[in-house]
Amino acid sequence: MAISIESLSVSRGGVNLLQGVDIELENGQAGILRGPNGVGKTTLLRALAGLQPVESGTIKCSLEDICYSGHADGVKPTLTVQENLEFWANIFGSPSISEVAEKFMITDLLNSKVGNLSAGQKRRVGLARLGLTGRQIWLLDEPTVSLDETSVKIFGNIIKAHLLEDGCALIATHIDLGLENKAQIIDLLKYKATSGKLSNSNEAFL
């Protein structure tokens, strides 16, 4: 089991958003988080990444296998693509940039400054970091924002390849990435916390 979440409850802004979340993902499987804005997709992903404390429940998956990618890309506009990727490669101790650049179709961008790239190209550079980490479990928060149709398709293929290599991904997205039977759709609406439930910290005052 790559990820196993049991009756997890998370809060944001003093209000309980999700409760009783049960998610199980095998290696080679992807989970697609669905649900309207504000249901708690980002909060859930951040909690899994260990950036945010959970209220209750258990998460079984090692933090060392997790690679989180949020709304922001974490790339520096004044550095070149190569320099940005080199930095993340060094942090995660993985050597080969060129291979990853090939996969994410940014080889010909390597020497340009990130500040001169379009939003979509920038996003691709940000996502290329995923390949550099060499980690098993990808937690992706709206990865396809500002990607065009072809880029989405490419990205879908990258995720497929990752799943074939026994990787695992939990993705918050509204777009069909073409993962077909490998994807497990998780509708977060059914875990929406009952109305009137506050965070533990607020409940203490009632």
């Binding site: 003093g14 506050l198 910290s201 607020n202 203490a204 005052f205 009632l206």
Partner: protein, 241 residues
């Protein structure tokens, strides 16, 4: 029954509501008694004349100013370790009182210094460290006000309080080193009460006890306000959903 039971905000509200009148009354009685004793029934100092009477407001306020910070430090650590909301809010509640006592200490220090040293302000290590203490209180209070989420604010201010304590102690030694007590005068010294003659000492102790009671009463009052604000916020958040 454990002491920590009163870390529950609602229980604390009930308990503090019952205790507050007693603390307030005892504080008032003790302070009035001590001040009257000191002001009317003690002789003038042979060296300092009538100014020695400033002792009865200067020393207790300075004592509370320092120990309020110490109480905040303890409360901050309890919050970080045990996550009791009352503890964090008590630390928040104590800060304005601490800064008020620091201001009193500085004002009375200047008023005492003028006739004794011939100047309103002297960069004496003790007065200087009170000025520094004032800055630490200021930073702490402003940080509380600047952070929106109450738990985040409590966490950040608690860590600032701990780090600040280390640097406040360092500053204390630094000021000592920097201006090696040109005006060390035993009766001016806060931590050397034993040098104060008994006739001044006993009323002083009474006033100090009164100031401590006053501090406790005010902390209880302010903590109650903070808890009620949080409770109101929680109820609002619940009804809005």
């Amino acid at each position: 029954m454990s002491f920590w039971e009163y870390a529950n905000p609602v229980k604390f509200l009930n308990l503090s509501g019952a205790l507050l009148p007693y603390f307030s009354i005892f504080a008032a009685i003790t302070i009035i008694a001590g001040i009257s004793w000191g002001f009317f029934f003690t002789p003038d100092d042979y060296k300092q004349g009538a100014t020695v009477k400033i002792l009865y407001v200067h020393v207790p306020s300075a004592f509370v100013a320092i120990n309020a910070w110490f109480m905040m430090l303890v409360a901050s650590i309890i919050w970080l370790v045990r996550r009791h909301h009352v503890s964090a809010l008590a630390a928040k509640a104590a800060a304005p009182i601490g800064i008020a006592m620091t201001i009193i200490g500085l004002l009375t220090g200047a008023l005492w210094g003028q006739p004794m040293w011939g100047t309103w302000w002297e960069w004496d290590p003790k007065l200087t460290s009170f000025l520094i203490l004032f800055l630490f209180y200021l930073g702490y209070i402003i940080l509380w006000a600047a952070v929106e989420d109450p738990d985040t604010a409590a966490d950040l201010t608690s860590i600032l309080c701990i780090v600040g304590s280390v640097f406040a102690v360092l500053s204390r030694y630094a000021t000592n080193f920097w201006n090696q007590g040109l005006h060390q005068d035993a009766s001016l010294s806060i931590d050397k009460e034993e040098h104060v003659a008994d006739v001044f000492y006993y009323p002083l102790i009474v006033v100090m006890a009164g100031f401590v009671l006053l501090f406790v009463a005010l902390v209880l009052l302010n903590t109650r306000s903070e808890i009620m604000k949080r409770r109101a916020g929680a109820i609002m958040a619940r009804s809005r959903m």
